[in-house]
Amino acid sequence: MTSSTQSSTTSLDADPPADVDPPADVDAPVDADAPGGAEQADGASVGFDPDPAASRRLPDGHAGGGARGSGGASASGLGRNPALALAIRSWRQLTSMRTALLLLFLLALAAVPGSLLPQRNINPMRVEQYLSDHQTVGPLLDRLSGFDVFAAPWFAAIYLLLFISLIGCLSSRIRWHARALFTAPPKAPARPGRLPGGSAWESPLPPAEATAAARTALRGRRFRASATATDARRPDGTPDHSVAAEKGYLRETGNLVFHVALVGLLAAVGFGSWFGYSGTTLVVTGDGFANTLISYDQFTGGKLVNTAKLRPFSLTLDRFAATYEPNGEPADFRADVTYAPDLDTPTRQATVRVNHPLVLGDTKVYLIGHGYAPHFVLRDARGRTVWQGNVPCTPRDGMFTSTCTVKIPDAGLPPLGAQRVPQQLAFSGVFTPTTRLDPTHGYVSIYPAARAPGLTITGFVGNLHVDEGIPQNVYTVNTKDMRQLTLSGPAGAGRTAQVLALDNPGQRTLTGLPAGMRLEADSVAEFATFQVKSDPFKGEALLFSVLIILGLIASLRVRRRRVWVRATPAAGGGSTVEIGGLSRSHGDGFAAELGQLTTLVRDATVPVGAGPSTATDVTGTEDGGAATAPRGTQPRAAAADGAASRESEREH
């Protein structure tokens, strides 16, 4: 991975070549503390490796990109151990930017089937449907984890590789960045004034003082600036008086924060799925539940959840209220509950609404559904209550037409025959909250609120097979060993189906049941479905998400730029001061900034009253001195800008 902050040719900036290292005699020091990048290895870069010889001096560490931190030091010993060499090479390969790019692509590609095929974690029913519709491809896809894409081994392989790669390159990038933060910026080139936008002028100060003044000026602009030591020498033996300054380290810091937070987020998601659980439970108004495994209709827990030690809270549903728009669209749901957050804690009141769960530490209770539970009373011939209860019905449509199944295993009827076959009762029906007789569809619901609750119902007697140890779906009834009853009720006598009007005491009782029993549906309660979720690592996930955004903003917004000043002795004890700089991206106002810095440094090195200094334009290689501007210090780029704006004035 190229994490290069310096010589890596690129950067994601608008303008890669601006990343050029000073094209003068500073290549070795600059390059040596740069991590280098995969680009150099490919030789495909625009080639801002300032000196190929420099990369030759850093053979494998350079070529491998990010791996230099781990492999750079041992690079010279690579040849001796082929296995080690191979390992190091593949590690470098894995931690290269190119591999990261490829893996990112693979990850995107791998996610696609997860959105096109039905997924078990979202809708298991549709998976079953798909499997029965596609007898040949279905099982094949199933074997390839096509219906559990996001839990598939190949999906995990991709993101784990990506994150190993990320961690690998991060560890070395962090080291380099830390080093960069504590070392001086790369030294000034021979003629900084010749960089684009650079300029030069005469100063009455001797070189050492001029550079000191320049350093102070640059520091004043919050550049990290360091001046060469007084006895420093250029390679040709002349004294070296220069300042190297740099700003914008936050860019790389932000980038690292972003990538580290990415790893952190993955960890939080992973731990969350190991230590979290979720369960759903249905509660009829007036009832409650406690947070134990048996209270749940459905429960899924992470591998490391101790189901015996779920947080022991309990909750009672006092009231459920749903309101609807006139067209039947839902407007608001609310469940008023009384709960005890823990064992032996006083109870409290709360309202749970969609989007507003009840929060109990890292456990949350969500309202995810609701429906109707008519209340049935079974009485014997003498009018004594044999059985009663609320039976939740499964909503089938937006108007809450719901399917009801009433199973009464202990109706008190004697078993039949030598086999002692149980005589049990079952009813199945359709509940309609606002009932209307439709000429073609029979009794239908025209509004979701219970304004005219009705129940179309049929009855059975026989063996429900409930006591045989085989788990049964409470919402369906198997009538294989049952006989349909003929009932008396509001629709008349001797009918198999009756329609009960729950609001009307005269029209809500079925008679003619075996042994003279009668079944009354005397009211309807609402039920709410709650989902209990626990994810102990949610907070961490959120924290890393915030860091991801902050890191991204810093990494994409901050610009890194360098400025160099060099002073060379001039006749008469003064010096010639040159300034120049580079930014990783052009067109972002660096020219203007450099212009300001130039003025600043010039003012610092040409004290007021020192007399007009003669400007030497060392930059006019191409535009024939066009840059010579007032006071002789106008940098070239600024001059060009000025001309450009003049032109746009003319043309507009």
Partner: protein, 391 residues
């Protein structure tokens, strides 16, 4: 929460007139673009000496025309930049030539940046009348933008809620953001040439939204009624509008890049110049350099990417509040993720040798396609938990 019929139809009228004004602006940009002539070297020479920039900026095109000469020039510049001493070394001459190319690349990009900042006017000459048409087009765009904005606001008033609850409203907002992005760019750079390329998709898109996707304003379903959702949707819409502009500039980059390569071939004598080239005409020729388009694309994407990231995270927070899980690989989430990964890949590609330029551009288009799938195919074809799915 009754729907105000009067305000609702006002919103529809504003929408229609905004679109009509955009269409007029589009024609204006197109006219300015069509009537502009390319500045030739001859034209540059005509410019008075005082206009130093006029001579300098067209050099970017000269570079494409005559690479060989420029390498020579660059070589000279390079040896000067090296302080003169490197050329003396015979070993260094190959090095100097290599560096010459690098420096020329810097120059080119420098100019690219300039032409981005100062407009490509140095390169293209626009007759005064066409220029006026262009300026009127900008005024029309601002006017259309104001009408469009009022349409969105009145829609919100009519429905008594935030105006981003269904696909018609999203699409309208995305276009509004795309136009805002263009106008925003216009305040900082002279990118009037971009006008026609932004307005064409915007007008088509609005037409699609106003007919196929249109629904009368109504209340939100309870699951949508959360302030995290509002934040999330705003983030998604803003970044999508900006991404739309990046897709446009990417396409223009690809066009221009092909053209430049062809030009280089012609200059090297390996290919015949097409009629359009001989006439110095062709729309592509009038675009800024591919480097400038590339830089612009990067900047636009780099602006939108953190917003998209934020939108996904806000969506996760909302999902956590609404459904009890912050991430569940619902199709909408999956495609947001795919889009995010693709744009991250674009940013990485820009930093990887051999992937810059054309390949990065291809990734940008793939990413935009994923975004499109996320908005439309997921809602219309694949449906998930997101309750507004299915229009």
């Amino acid at each position: 929460m009754a729907v105000n019929e009067g305000v609702s139809s006002l919103s529809d009228h504003l929408f229609g007139s905004g679109m009509a004004v955009y269409a007029a602006a589009m024609l204006g940009y197109a006219a300015e673009f069509a009537f502009s002539r390319l500045g030739t070297r001859g034209a540059a020479a005509q410019a008075t000496d005082a206009d130093a920039a006029a001579a300098e900026v067209p050099a970017a095109r000269v570079g494409a025309d005559q690479p060989a000469v420029l390498v020579g020039v660059g070589g000279a510049a390079a040896s000067e930049a090296l302080g003169g001493d490197a050329v003396a070394d015979p070993d260094a001459s190959a090095l100097a030539a290599a560096r010459a190319r690098e420096i020329e690349a810097v120059r080119q990009r420098d100019r690219a940046a300039h032409s981005l900042a100062g407009g490509n006017d140095g390169d293209v000459q626009v007759p005064v009348r066409a220029r006026w048409v262009g300026r009127v087009a900008v005024i029309l765009t601002v006017l259309g933008w104001a009408l469009h904005l009022s349409s969105v606001v009145t829609r919100g008033i009519a429905a008594d809620r935030v105006p981003w609850g269904n696909m018609y409203e999203y699409s309208s907002m995305i276009c509004l953001i795309a136009v805002t992005t263009f106008l925003g760019l216009l305040t900082r750079h002279n990118v009037r040439w971009l006008g026609v390329f932004v307005m064409v998709p915007v007008v088509l898109y609005l037409g699609f939204a106003g007919t196929v996707l249109y629904v009368a304003p109504g209340p939100l379903v309870p699951a949508l009624n959360s302030y995290w959702l509002k934040i999330h949707v705003v983030g998604a819409i803003v970044s999508s509008g900006v991404f739309l502009v990046s897709a446009v500039t990417t396409l223009l980059f690809l066009l221009k890049e092909r053209w430049e390569n062809r030009l280089a071939e012609v200059a090297a004598g390996r290919a015949e110049a097409s009629r359009a080239m001989q006439n110095r005409g062709g729309i592509v020729m009038r675009l800024p350099s591919s480097a400038a388009l590339d830089a612009l694309t990067y900047r636009v994407i780099a602006f939108a990417f953190p917003i998209w990231t934020f939108a996904i995270i806000a969506g996760a927070i909302w999902a956590e509040a609404a459904w009890g899980r912050y991430w569940g690989w619902d199709p909408k989430e999956t495609w947001s993720f795919i889009t995010w990964v693709c744009y991250a890949a674009y940013l990485h590609a820009r930093a990887t040798a051999g992937w810059r330029g054309r390949r990065a551009a291809a990734i940008s288009l793939v990413a935009f396609t994923a975004l499109f799938v996320d908005y439309y195919l997921v809602n219309l074809v694949i449906t998930g938990l997101h309750s507004y799915a299915g229009v």
